[in-house]
Amino acid sequence: MTMTLTQQIITIAMVVLGTMLTRFLPFIVFPSGKPTPKYVQYLGKMLPSAVIGLLIIYCLKDVSLQSGSHGIPEFIGVAVVALLHVWKKMMLLSIAGGTIVYMMLIQLVF
């Protein structure tokens, strides 16, 4: 290890501080006692759907379409989750079904 224990603790503390800043900042800037600006209220209503879309893409960010399995297992996995969910509307079934299909695909097929 190149770092001393103190340096390690400072480094980890910086990561904690950075993470907490990103989580607490909106609540500090727009405290619940004061009325939140209309524009921020609008964003608060609109952002969730967009952010969850962003999270899906974030999960798939390391998939390469040009090489390896070309993202086919991921595509099939997502399709199975979506179809199961539209059909049965049971959260755990959709997630378990899609994940098992995906694991079988990458372990046995690709």
């Binding site: 969730p48 759907s49 967009a50 952010v51 899906i56 997630i95």
Partner: protein
């Protein structure tokens, strides 16, 4: 005034709390089951990873407890191995975790009136706690604050327990878990569909998915989040006037 009740005021408060806690826990747990699978797996992977870098189990345990942001913890492990640079560590963290700003803005209203629990709710606002607490309609007879508290706390527990198992027993885990991390993707897909079926228009959902995909193609996997956030913010701001007009017309 003398009270003829058998129970003192303290007892009543205590019982009221208990009758709130158990239903809230029961309502929250099922939503966290996919995360139980995902976090145990990812946590174990993280613990094994730290183990392989030569860190003792106490590192993954304390880091998962205090940072509680999955991808950042893997990056933090690498930060510990390079030259000491705390400012760099801080800025890298701000960049990687900038998406939390959007979570906070979305939860400003939902976290209102949750009392002291609010501090912990904000501390534990990871991707998974956010996506559940933001989208689930909590049953009417369940206390919303405690529901969100248990979702956050259970997720936190799963993550720390996973990291501890990985850190301590890392070298013994030997079954083929390749691909199990897909449960997180599957969770977000399910939540996306649930949102889609609830909302009146899909501008925001499509903007999030489309703009993020475009930014991923242009900027690549490690740099796309911040441009994607700006693009989403820009488009939603442009859409504000037309969308609000539509809303007024439908009323």
């Amino acid at each position: 005034m003398l009270s003829l009740n058998k129970f003192s005021h303290q007892d009543v408060i205590y019982m009221k709390k208990r009758t709130q806690l158990i239903p809230a826990f029961r309502a929250a747990f099922p939503y966290t089951v996919p995360i139980l699978a995902g976090f145990l797996f990812l946590g174990i992977a993280y613990g094994i990873f730290m183990n392989s870098l030569g860190f003792s189990a106490i590192y993954p345990i304390l880091m998962s407890l205090t940072i509680f942001a999955g991808s950042m913890e893997f990056i933090a492990a690498n930060l510990l191995l390079v030259a000491f640079n705390p400012i760099n560590a801080l800025f890298l963290t701000l960049m990687v975790n900038a998406r939390h700003l959007f979570y906070g803005i979305s939860m400003l209203d939902k976290y209102r009136g949750t009392g002291k629990k609010k501090l912990y709710l904000i501390f534990g606002l990871c991707d998974e706690s956010f996506s559940i607490n933001c989208t689930v309609d909590v049953p009417k007879d369940v206390d919303k604050g405690w529901f969100m508290f248990f979702v956050t706390m259970l997720n936190h527990c799963y993550w720390v327990i996973g990291a501890a198992i990985g850190g301590i027993f890392g070298s013994f885990v030997k079954f083929n878990t390749e691909g199990l991390d897909f449960v997180m993707t599957a969770l977000f897909v399910v939540i996306f569909i649930e949102q889609w079926m609830k909302e009146k228009n899909h501008h925001s959902a499509l903007a999030g998915l489309g703009l993020s995909a475009v930014c991923l193609i242009i900027f690549g996997g490690s740099n796309f989040i911040i441009p994607a956030m700006f693009a989403i913010l820009g488009l939603l701001s442009l859409l504000r006037k037309p969308l609000e007009k539509v809303e007024v017309r439908t009323i």
